[in-house]
Each structure stands twice: as C-alpha cells, then as structure tokens.
C-alpha cells in the first residue's frame, strides 16, 4: 500500500470539497436539521415529563449523533466513488497505478474527515443551542465511535459494489442502504423492543451492539461500557469488513470481465 497515492486521492477530495461549498452544506445541513428536531423534542419532553424520564432523552441525542457517524462513514466511501463517476474521472483513476486497496483506503479517510467536520459542527451547535456539552459524554464512547465508523465503511463498500454492478441506476442505494438497517439496529430503542425473530438479525449486525452499548454508557444506573457489546461489535466488524472487501473485489473483477467498467465510467 502506497501512502503517497492515498494522500493524493485524499487531496483530490479535499480540493473537491473546498472548491464546492455546496458539498460542505450537504455535510452540515442534514445533521443540523436532525439536531434541531431531536434537540427541540428533547427540551420539550424534559419540561413536560418527570426527572427520571429525562436521562432517557439523552439516548435520543446520543443515538442521533452516533447514527450520523455511521451514515457519514458510509457516505464517505459511496459518495467519493460517485464523485468519480459524476465527473467522468473514474477511468483516469482506474488506469493510473492505483491499487484497489489504496482507492478504498482513501475513501475511508474521507469518511473519517466527513465525520470530524459533522461532529465538530454538531458539537458546537448542541452546546450553543441546547447546552449539551459533547465533552461531557464519557470517553468510553470512543471505541463505540470507532466501531461504528468501521461498520459505516463496510456498508460504503457494499453500496459501491452494488453501484458498480448495477450502474448509475443504483445510485440511490448510496443514500438508502444505511436506512435499510436503521429500524433493526436499535438506534433509538433497545433491541428487546424488536419482535423476537428480528432480534436475531439485529444482534448479527455490529451497529446493534454499539447502540446497546451506548445506552449502557449513558444510563446512570450502569454508567460504563459493556465489554461484551464492544467485543461483539468488534468481532462482527471484522467479519463484515472481510465480507464487504470480498464483495467489492469480486464485483470489480466481474465488471472488468463483463466489460461494464468502461461503459459505466463513460456513460
């Protein structure tokens, strides 16, 4: 793996984002909308419910912020690939001495940078608008952030593979795929509230363990990370990352074999 090539590809995306302010708006706009909706709802419920209920409200804000970590990481990979398709630059990249692993790693880095920008903006706005200090969140949440980001990258690779396979007609999958799993991974409610048959599926996804673990950390009655959730999330992430890499690599091989890559890149 050549870090010079990865940094060159990352530089390209940084140029793209800094040259196109609308891309930055997209990074910030939806998270801010989410924050306002959940922030105002939280304030309203805090004023109109008893104090014991109030800490549950923290789960909503925590769930919203962590969900955004997953979504931004997935988008970092899928949208970075689509940027190359939209600008008809894909062939230039694929005929350059860039290994697939270098290309994908660059999109991971972009996913991470997108998260940094979004979380920074959300943190400032949450503090100013709702007196919610992100720094007051427990540091034990950091491993959950990391696991969620890695799962977002896996979903991003699977989204990209599907777009490669089905062409631009499948572009909407870049946005839709995270939302396919959102109802299942217990973002805003415990997995125990899902129907029994769905709980098995939910527990097979790393994100479920992360959101369950987050609630343990934020719950004053528990207040610490559950190592079993973290261990399960990390283990499942290894499996999902390997699976996503295999799906991406075999789809890329298939598009080369079928001659779809050039058609897709120049359409």
């Amino acid at each position: 793996m050549n870090f010079r090539i990865i940094s060159a590809l990352v530089l390209r995306y940084i140029f793209l984002y800094t040259r196109t302010p609308m891309r930055l708006v997209e990074l910030v706009f939806w998270p801010v909308v989410d924050l306002m909706v959940w922030g105002n709802l939280t304030m309203f419920l805090q004023e109109n419910t008893n104090a014991q209920f109030a800490h549950y409200l923290l789960f909503l804000i925590g769930g919203m912020i962590l969900w955004d970590v997953l979504f931004r990481a997935q988008q970092g990979v899928a949208i970075s690939f689509l940027e190359d398709v939209w600008t008809r630059n894909l062939l230039n990249v694929f005929v350059a001495p860039v290994r697939t692993v270098e290309y994908v790693t660059a999109t991971f880095v972009i996913g991470f940078l997108r998260i940094c920008v979004t979380v920074l903006v959300l943190s400032v706005l949450a503090f100013v608008g709702y007196h919610f200090n992100v720094l007051s969140l427990k540091w034990s949440l950091i491993p959950f952030f990391i696991n969620l980001m890695v799962f977002g990258w896996s979903l991003g690779m699977i989204s990209t593979a599907l777009i490669l396979r089905w062409g631009q007609a499948a572009e909407s999958l870049a946005w839709a795929i995270p939302f396919f799993i959102q109802p299942v991974v217990a973002v805003f409610y415990p997995v125990a509230k899902l129907p029994g048959w769905l709980q098995g599926i939910a527990l097979a996804l790393p994100a479920t363990h992360i959101f369950e673990g987050m609630r343990d950390v934020l719950n004053p009655a528990i207040g610490h990370a559950s190592w079993s959730h973290l261990g399960m999330a990390a283990g499942l992430n290894v499996i999902f990352m390997a699976l996503a890499a295999w799906i991406f690599a075999s789809t890329l091989r298939a598009t080369r074999r079928k001659g779809l890559l050039t058609k897709f890149a120049t359409q």
Partner: protein
C-alpha cells in the same frame, strides 16, 4: 515456452479475443508495438478498437489471449506497469470542479512525479495553456480540455501512451496543433504510442504504421502509403470506407 523478452518490443498482444454475450468483439488479435513507434488502430464503429484499448489498459479482461508490456505479463503486473504508461481519451475528463493545476497536482502525486511544480508548468507551456492554470476545469473548451488531458497523460514521462481519439471534437486548427505537439514530444522522448482515431489526417500525420480492424479481425496492416497502394484506393479515407462497407481491401 515463451521467447526471451525483446527490449525493443514495448507492447505485445497475442491472440487477444473478447466476446460479449456470445458476440465476438475481438478475434485473435495480435500485434507488436516497438519502442518509439506510433501504431494506429483504425476501423469503423464496432471494429474492436475501443475493446482492444480497454483490454490494454486492464479495464476489460480478455476472453482469451495475453498482453505483454515491457516484456512482462500485463495482468499479473498491472499496477507496476501502469507507472510506465499513461492514457488520454476524448471520452474521459478530469474533475470539472477542480482548478486545472489542482487536477494536475493530484495526478502528479499519484504518479510520484519529482519536482511536480516544474513538470506541470512545462507541460502547460508545451500545450500553450499556461494561462489556464487557475481556471476551473469544467469551464474549459473542448480543445483546452483535450490539451489538459494530454498534459495529464505526459506527467509521468510515459514510455507507452495510449491515445483514444485525442482530436475528436476539436476544430481543425486545434487538432493540427495537438497532432504536431504529440508528434514532437513522441519523437523527442521516443514514446511508443497506440493511437485510435476516426480522423484520417491524424493517422497519416502521426502514425508510423496502422492496423485496420473490421468486426474484431485484422483486415490489413502496414504503413499508410503501403495500404493505400495495396488497396488501389486514392486515399486512406477511401480505404477506411471500403473496409467499413465490405470488410476487405480487395475488390
């Protein structure tokens, strides 16, 4: 047993075939490209030029056959060999929302170009587009965009260059400038070029040798003068039309 690699042969395709859903796009296509030679691939739409080019770039895998670049198996050493090659096509573009220098800087870094600022300045100067350095790429005209693509293609001082219709959609003045610049650079640096075009003037001015393809098969090959003489046509364009319509150069 394969013969020892000849350093003078930069690119060699052996019995390259490609089928798409049972339709033969290329049928046992073989050729050799020597160091410093410009080889033109000619043929009507669907003749197999783009399929060949895509396989030679590793974008499409052949159904059968092999490609050797610089004496090594291309598909087994693709990334390593691509460092010594480059490509430009009328059908690709660099990201339109980046500035010209930003696009060139990114590719200079990808190819590991030493002293990239100097190199970029030299190439912009060579193609007479230094004044566009700070322009948004998407706002360039077709001619300017083509010249920028060629700057990108020469960034790594390639030994092998694949050019897919580099003068398509250019006006005659710009096309002439582009042809002359390509030929000058090629001759100064002894670059081997595989060149496709529908513009016969391009082929006559730039190529040392041409291969005519029709429905995936080689119809004839040689210098443009030899082919015109052999076919008893009055010009290369007439040969092209003859082959496109009948699939042969003989009456």
């Amino acid at each position: 047993m394969s013969s020892p690699a000849n350093p003078e042969i930069i690119l060699e395709a052996r019995d390259l075939s490609r089928e798409f859903d049972g339709v033969v796009a290329l049928d046992r296509f073989s050729f050799k490209l020597k160091r410093g030679e410009v080889l033109g691939l000619l043929g009507a739409n669907g003749a197999g030029k783009t399929t060949s080019m895509n396989m030679l770039l590793g974008l499409t895998t052949p159904t059968s056959g092999s490609i050797q670049a610089f004496g090594r198996d291309f598909f087994k050493n693709r990334v390593e060999l691509l460092r010594r090659m480059n490509f430009s096509s009328a059908y690709t573009s660099l990201p339109g929302n980046l500035l010209v220098w930003q696009n060139l800087l990114v590719f200079a870094k990808i190819y590991g170009v030493p002293d990239h600022k100097k190199k970029i300045a030299e190439l912009l100067e060579l193609f007479e587009i230094s004044d566009l350095r700070k322009r948004v790429t998407g706002q360039l005209s077709a001619g300017e965009s083509t010249r920028l693509n060629l700057c990108k293609a020469l960034l790594n001082d390639p030994e092998l260059l694949l050019l897919d219709e580099p003068t398509a959609s250019l006006d005659p003045d710009i096309a002439d400038k582009v042809r002359k610049t390509i030929r000058r650079v090629q001759s100064e640096r002894q670059i081997s070029i595989l060149y496709t075009s529908h513009n016969m003037r391009d082929i006559e001015e730039v190529c040392d040798r041409v291969i005519f393809l029709h429905k995936g098969k080689v119809v004839t090959e040689g210098t443009t003068a030899d082919i015109v003489a052999k076919s008893q046509q009055s010009s290369l364009e007439d040969v092209f039309i003859k082959i496109a319509r009948s699939g042969d150069i003989e009456e």
